[in-house]
């Protein structure tokens, strides 16, 4: 939950930032593995991301999987 709070704080900081208008914003629809990866890459490359997920949490179907083939690594 600290994540949520710090996130909000950060966004507020960003909004106060006068350079805000130049900030590239992107919406990612769907917070499964693909949406998560896209959000992280965009954020790391300097874009502000809104990750919109219809479920109460991100994670998608991959979060339901136990392990992944062909290495049997943990999925979540």
């Amino acid at each position: 939950m600290e994540n949520v709070i710090s996130l909000k704080e950060n966004i507020q900081q960003l909004r106060k930032n006068p350079g805000d208008g130049n900030f590239g914003d992107v919406m990612v629809v769907g917070g499964g593995i693909s949406g998560i990866q896209a959000s992280l890459d965009l954020a790391a490359a300097g874009f502000k991301v809104y990750l919109v997920e219809k479920a109460p949490t991100i994670g998608g179907h991959m979060a339901q999987l136990d392990k992944t083939f062909p290495t049997n690594d943990c999925s979540t």
Binding site: I5, G30, G32, Q37, L40, A45, E53, N72
Partner: protein, 964 residues
């Protein structure tokens, strides 16, 4: 996921739907509806007290409705955001009764007055990644799902296997909570079927996930019997073939190539009977304890609604309609697609497609890229290294997670008795922002110079707590974490007293270590903004172009005199792309781009440096050039195997599939006029020498067959195959070929087709192919005019050389090895080097393009920054102790150590930039000269010494001696 939650540039809007999208690329106005969670997100701490008291039990969606959850609950243990929500099963929402949760919540986080909230956001671009929906077998009654209790879907089974699943990781039958010992899987449920409710395409992942489930079932229960009823086994991906063999070789696992039907359920035992056919014994029936339906992948249930809202076109299967040369764009500019909406694809494709979408958005919105280096001003660091250690301990309740098991107040009192501890207190959630601030304040107030937080694993929250020290002007490496949750309260829930004692022990150890800690500095490395791309095929060109379009110089190195790679031998794709026209267009863009520098006839002679700062020497038609670059993309492609079998090279009527394609396109007469043509699949792979599937050959042969049938419908075409692996939408072309009378005959590897030159009855010279037909159960003789061999795709001849130069690894099959097969499919273990195209593994052109954009996207996450941070926890050599034996050098997998000549002889030197702090070298060093900062012997031994006090050890020794 946690990274998303923590990233300052990502706002997660969970439980939110998109209403409408207006505007155009660069300027979309999106209206969202935040559904009411009935929880105040900023107040909920995720303590789950409300969940405990909630009286409503209803089927848990996360666990596929096998087990129960409460009306108020957290979706699953690692949810982001990690807070509760209340769903429609709530008594208050339904009948205005209860409100217990409201009464028990200490943070007043429950709010039943919440209503749907409209949010408007302005964005420049959109990525659609709504994922897939598992096929619902209820639409076809014959699967008996929902009717026979022990018929489950593969998704249900996935939850049964999971330790967070409905039975805590025990595979149990819902009917009697007993372990099933005899489990059957039925493949292609909802896939490869042209029937009402089914999907004609192949779902591409089920064959291999079933093998995974069978392996895991054997892990759970070594005696279990697993039976897999399948059609073709489609092990087309990297390392899938070996995985298939691993599964097949486990005792008690059977693969049956057969269609099946689920016929009955035993009324008493609830066992399920499956009917199937065998080649030798006809139709058989067999009873199983459990039947798993390997369900396929559907588009999202609301895909039509999504298409309408976003104005995108769908294909005939209701997935996104994809561009032939850019599978990431949609028909609406500014809206991109990644993941399952592209089609039924596996996780790595979903991941690099996402990175690719990110790269293309970078191309679109580069001018708006923000400067992320949000300056945080920290107070100047005080030098406390000469002070006596003054340790502060903060013990976290973690809501009820720790507090309910460990006696936290008593533990705090204990901490105060420990040597060097000058302050201790408890906190409800140490990670909450106010608690973190409290730590900073206490450091200043009490003059602390070391901090121990006794809470959870350092993996997630250590960066946050280190920050609290920096905020107080103390070096962040003076922080130490005691894990009393994962290592204690979670695993000792029934032993409260012992858990409290263990918490004491763990904290005592941490305090001891904290006293030994040394201040360390992290440092910034500059990043050179240019990229080097090795390989000028489709992958390399696409990647270079995408990076250059975002303002980065790209040096494109091609060993041939022309760009294009192996694609120059391909003329068309199954979907109808004119490959040569596409290549001309792409190469044109490359040559015209002012930021792309092409080196043809080029070889790399030397590659030095590290992330952000590479120097590569290239010998080319331009002479010898030293190129400085921050990132490198390896895209050297692959080659075609030259067959030695089936008279190839001896008889000109035998050719490879690519040679056949060339002859079809050029209108070669012998091919055009052939009466009979035989294609043999799996030539040079799926064997001992090359134990992998070349992935593309089935479709290549089918493509050729369809081209030939179009020109000459009367031609007899036979495809001799082992498994037809037309995964995904390629299945449609397989079906089309079969409908056009292309004859598919399966052969077994131990009984390969035989080819000999002969004459037919009319005295015409032919190639006689003898093959056993397993359906008819007899040997066939086919007289062919032309034989086309589906020759394997093999790693490029220079793969080893390039791997050596850039110090990257190879997979067992000789292709480059990515950092993580699922989650980091375009990166290497070595930072700053990326991978795409057939150098990674054989793949189709659209897949290559997807991955090439992905590599560019990942490279941009590095190149868009001015600096990268190197950790302070790296290895260091005490030169006097080093005798220059080099044992550490062979232990280091990052090439971070080298020997340097000094006046005292050869000495090992660590490059702190390359060092990852894994400490492997420490263990190898015979003189103890090399040590890992932050994990020194003194630090670790102090921790061990604190486990059992010296007096106690002496007493034990005395007691033991006394016994003698």
């Amino acid at each position: 996921m946690v990274e998303v939650g923590r990233h300052p540039n990502i706002e997660v809007l969970s439980y939110t739907e998109v209403n409408s999208v207006e505007g155009e690329a660069g300027n979309f106005k999106v209206t969202l509806t935040k559904k009411p969670r009935y929880i105040l997100e900023d107040k909920c701490t995720g303590c789950t007290t409300c969940v405990e008291y909630c009286p409503v039990q209803y089927p848990d969606q996360y666990n596929q409705e096998i087990s129960k959850n409460k009306a108020v609950h957290i979706y699953f243990a690692q949810a982001i955001p990690l807070i509760t929500y209340i769903d429609e099963s709530c008594l208050y929402l339904k009948e205005k009764k209860c409100r217990i949760c409201e009464a028990v919540c200490k943070n007043n986080a429950i709010d039943f007055n919440q209503a749907p909230e409209k949010v408007e956001i302005d964005v420049g671009a959109i990525i659609l990644s709504p994922g897939i929906e598992p096929f619902d077998p209820k639409v076809r009654e014959e699967y008996r799902y929902g009717q026979f209790v022990n018929v489950v879907t593969s998704m249900d089974y996935e939850r049964l296997l999971s330790s967070t699943g409905p039975y805590g990781g025990e595979i149990l039958r819902t009917s009697d909570k007993k372990h099933p010992h005899n489990v059957a899987w039925i493949q292609c449920v909802g896939s490869r079927q042209v029937i009402e409710g089914g999907n004609s395409y192949c779902s591409a992942v089920c064959c291999t996930y079933t093998q995974k489930q069978a392996i895991l079932t054997k892990d759970h229960d070594a005696e279990a019997k697993c039976t897999i009823f399948h059609n073709d086994v489609r092990s087309y991906g990297k390392d899938f073939e070996r995985y298939y063999q691993r599964t097949e070789n486990l005792p008690g696992i059977r693969f049956f190539r057969s269609y099946t039907s689920i016929v009955k359920e035993d009324p008493v035992t609830k066992n399920v009977t499956v009917r199937y056919s065998t080649p030798d014994d006809g139709v058989k029936e067999e009873e199983f304890d459990m039947v798993v339906l390997s369900v396929g992948l559907n588009p999202p249930a609301d895909v039509k609604d999504i298409a309408k809202k976003f104005g995108i076109e769908l294909n005939s299967h209701n997935f996104c309609k994809l561009d032939l040369v850019n599978p990431i764009i949609t028909n609406r500019p500014g809206i991109f697609v990644s993941g399952g909406l592209q089609g039924p694809i596996d996780i790595p494709e979903s991941v690099f497609g996402a990175s690719g979408a990110s790269s293309q958005i970078g191309e679109l919105l580069d001018y708006r890229r923000g400067n992320l280096a949000k300056e945080r001003i920290y107070p100047p660091e005080q030098d406390v290294s000469q002070e006596e250690p003054k340790v502060g301990v903060f013990v976290c309740h973690c809501g009820a997670n720790i507090g309910r098991i460990v006696n936290v107040p008593e533990t705090v009192e204990y901490c105060k008795t420990l040597p060097n501890v000058v302050y201790a207190q408890e906190q409800l959630f140490s990670c909450a922002i106010n608690s973190a601030k409290e730590i900073t304040d206490k450091i200043k107030e009490k003059g602390l110079n070391r901090v121990v937080v006794a809470a959870c694993s350092p993996r997630t929250l250590e960066p946050l707590f280190r920050d609290t020290l920096r905020e107080a002007g103390i070096n962040q490496y003076y922080y130490e974490m005691a894990n009393i949750r994962e290592h204690n309260s979670w695993v000792h829930q029934k032993e409260k007293e012992e858990a409290t004692e263990k918490a004491h022990d763990i904290i005592r150890m941490s305090v001891a270590r904290a006293c030994q800690l040394e201040p360390l500095q992290e440092f910034d490395l500059p990043v050179n903004k240019a990229a080097l791309v090795v390989g000028g095929g489709i992958a390399g060109m696409t990647s270079a172009l995408s990076m250059a379009n975002q303002g980065h110089e790209a040096y494109l190195i091609e060993k041939d005199s022309d760009l294009g790679g192996i694609a120059r031998k391909i003329h068309t794709t199954l979907e109808g792309l004119d490959v040569q026209a596409y290549l001309r267009d792409l190469a044109g863009k490359i040559y015209k781009h002012p930021l792309i520098h092409v080196y043809t006839d080029a070889t790399i002679t030397e590659a030095k440096g590290y992330v952000g700062n590479f120097v590569t020497t290239v010998k080319s038609d331009r002479g010898i050039t030293e190129i400085k670059h921050g990132a490198a993309v390896i895209a050297i492609g692959a080659e075609l195997y030259t067959p030695t079998e089936y008279l190839y090279g001896q008889d000109e009527r035998v050719m490879t599939h690519l040679e056949l394609e060339e002859k079809i396109v050029s209108g070669d007469e012998k091919v055009a006029k052939a009466q009979s043509l035989v294609m043999i699949q799996c030539v040079g792979c799926r064997n001992e020498d090359r134990n992998y599937c070349s992935r593309i050959c089935c479709s290549e042969s089918i493509k050729n067959a369809l081209l030939l049938k179009e020109k000459n419908p009367a031609m007899d075409i036979y495809i001799l195959f082992r498994d037809i692996r037309t995964y995904g939408f390629k299945e449609d072309y397989y079906r089309e070929a079969a409908s056009k009378d292309v004859k598919f005959i399966r052969y077994e590897p131990h009984d390969k087709p035989q080819v000999e030159a002969a004459e037919n009855e009319e005295g015409r010279p032919v190639l006689r192919v003898t093959v056993t037909d397993y359906v008819l159960g007899k040997k066939l003789e086919i007289d062919a005019d032309i034989i086309a061999l589906a020759a394997a795709v093999i790693p490029s001849a220079v793969t080893n050389e390039i791997a050596g130069l850039f110090k990257v690894n190879l997979s067992p099959d000789g292709f480059f090895k990515e950092a993580h097969v699922k989650l980091r499919p375009v990166e290497f273990g070595t930072d700053g080097i990326y991978l795409c195209g057939m150098a990674h593994y054989p793949k189709y052109i659209p897949e290559t393009i997807n991955q090439a954009y992905g590599a560019a996207g990942r490279a941009l996450t590095l190149l868009s920054h001015d600096t990268v941070i190197a950790s302070g926890s790296v290895c260091e050599v005490a030169e006097k102790k080093c005798m220059g034996c080099g044992a550490c050098i062979s232990a280091c997998i990052y090439g971070a150590i080298e020997l340097r000549e000094t006046r005292q002889g050869k000495k090992a030197v660590v490059n702190p930039v390359l060092c990852k702090g894994d400490g492997l070298c420490n263990a190898k060093c015979p003189t103890g000269a090399i040590s890992l900062k932050h994990f020194t012997d003194e630090e670790l031994l102090s921790q061990i010494d604190a486990v059992v006090p010296e007096e106690e050890i002496l007493q034990q020794i005395d007691a033991a001696v006394g016994d003698v």
